[in-house]
């Protein structure tokens, strides 16, 4: 067994096992930690197939940012998971049905997978350069419009999140650094010569 094959089976097995642990761990914080382990092994699998850019982006975006936010939420909310599990048997048929539908769809998609002609040739053309450059070229030429639209969608999401959480409160004293810095001595300070025994 070659080293690569061994690594593939190792990382694949850890990935699946930690994914199972995500949904079966009793403690929600442990779930998030297993999710991170799962992301890591997925990144490792990306490296094995030579997609080093995707691997790094997976770690930076999902592990470095998204999972940190998950962690925050899970730690702050203090969820009681025992009570969440009470309805497990009750909802099992619905959950199993959704799972089956998703599985069927995945099998159908994977069975009839075919690259569209221009994409296939594009990939062949960029194989000579490293995959960061190749992805950049494809995104900014072939799929430019889709890429820009994805950016706009994200922007809308950002604005939506800010609009939802922004509260205008009255009576709050805020620090205005620009005003503080531009304050001059004459505006705030009066020097007076006080004679002894008389006061100001």
């Amino acid at each position: 067994m070659s080293a690569e094959l061994f690594l593939f089976w190792l990382m694949g097995a850890v990935c699946v096992a930690s994914a199972v642990m995500v949904i079966s761990a009793k403690n929600p914080v442990h779930s998030v930690l297993f999710l991170i382990l799962c992301f890591f092994n997925a990144a490792g699998l990306f490296v094995l197939i030579g997609a080093e850019f995707l691997a790094m982006v997976l770690v930076v975006v999902y592990v470095g940012a998204v999972a940190v936010l998950f962690m925050f939420v899970v730690m702050m909310l203090d969820i009681n998971f025992v009570r969440l599990r009470e309805g497990f048997i009750e909802y099992l048929p619905v959950g199993a049905l959704v799972g089956l539908v998703l599985l069927a769809e995945l099998v159908l998609v994977a069975g009839t997978w075919a690259f569209r002609e221009p994409v296939a040739t594009g990939v062949a053309a960029v194989e000579a350069v490293d995959n960061t450059r190749a992805l950049g070229r494809l995104l900014y030429t072939e799929h430019f419009l889709v890429f820009q639209i994805a950016g706009v969608v994200l922007l809308v999401a950002i604005i939506g999140a800010i609009a939802l959480t922004l509260r205008e409160r009255v009576g709050v004293k805020r620090q205005d650094v620009a005003r503080q810095v531009h304050r001059r001595r004459e505006e705030t300070l009066v020097l007076e010569r006080v004679e002894p025994g008389k006061g100001v």
Partner: protein
Amino acid sequence: MVELFASTIWPVIVLVARILAIVVPLLLAVAYLTYAERKVIAAMQLRQGPMTVGPYGLLQPLADGLKLFVKETVIPTGANKVVFVLAPMVTFVLALIGWAVIPFGEGLVLADINVGVLYLFAVSSLGVYGIIMAGWASNSRYAFLGALRSSAQMVSYEIAIGLIIISVLISAGSLNLSAIVRAQAEQGWYVFWHFPMFVIFLVSILAETNRHPFDLPEDESSLVTGYNVEYSSMTFALFFLGEYANMILMSAIASVLFLGGWLPPLAIWPFTWIPGPLWLILKICLVLFIFIWARATLPRYRYDQLMRLGWKVLLPLSLAWVVLTAGVVLAFDLLPTAAG
């Protein structure tokens, strides 16, 4: 058997030797960085610093290490044991693995990968986990508050760091750290072209490593010492080593991205006579001195001011600089054409 030895075992031995050649000097450097820090701050405050252990106190770091080693490891009753022990290990390991891609000279690098910059960015963005795990697993309010502060701070300043790195990447045209240094040999060091970004980068790495004046996660006066308050003995030592190793790693990144890595300041005789790795070490020491200098000089920031600086000052500035760099490069047709 001979074939197996030549094809598998020998390369593994060589790899382990190369890793040790980086890790052992690094740990020594961490030990003596604590000594240097105390001595430099002492000099700035007209004191003598450690003087008792060995000549000029030179054996002080060893004595400190020994003291931590022989102390008792205390695990609090309410702590989540596995995560509690895992957290310092995560911090320490993450501080070490970043060194795999730092180029010490032409070809002198453990893993010369194409996405070296992204790898470093990923490793530094993971550093937050050690702290947040420690804060949560300690089951202590002080530790938890310290961990929350720290993770919010690190996530905020990472964005500025990311944008600064993008400016450098546009100039160099590669994600490979060796290629970035080679581009600086042709174009001049980026500290001259991107000077405002170098300053912002220094400020951001102070925040990213939780150092003064941004050391709010371990704010003694309000949080006792923050996320590591429940840790003792070697578990504490691992946090400590990780923090200092991270400082050295960040200084190395600043040196490679802005100060020309292993390049001499001028490519003429007395400078070229000194070997490249030594130049890199000198530059790392320079950046580390700035770290210590800031600690001796500046008072601690208030938390809301820290967030304001990160999001409202550094982020717009670095974003504007990315646009400016891209515009200048495009307008004057300076796009780097490094072979991919």
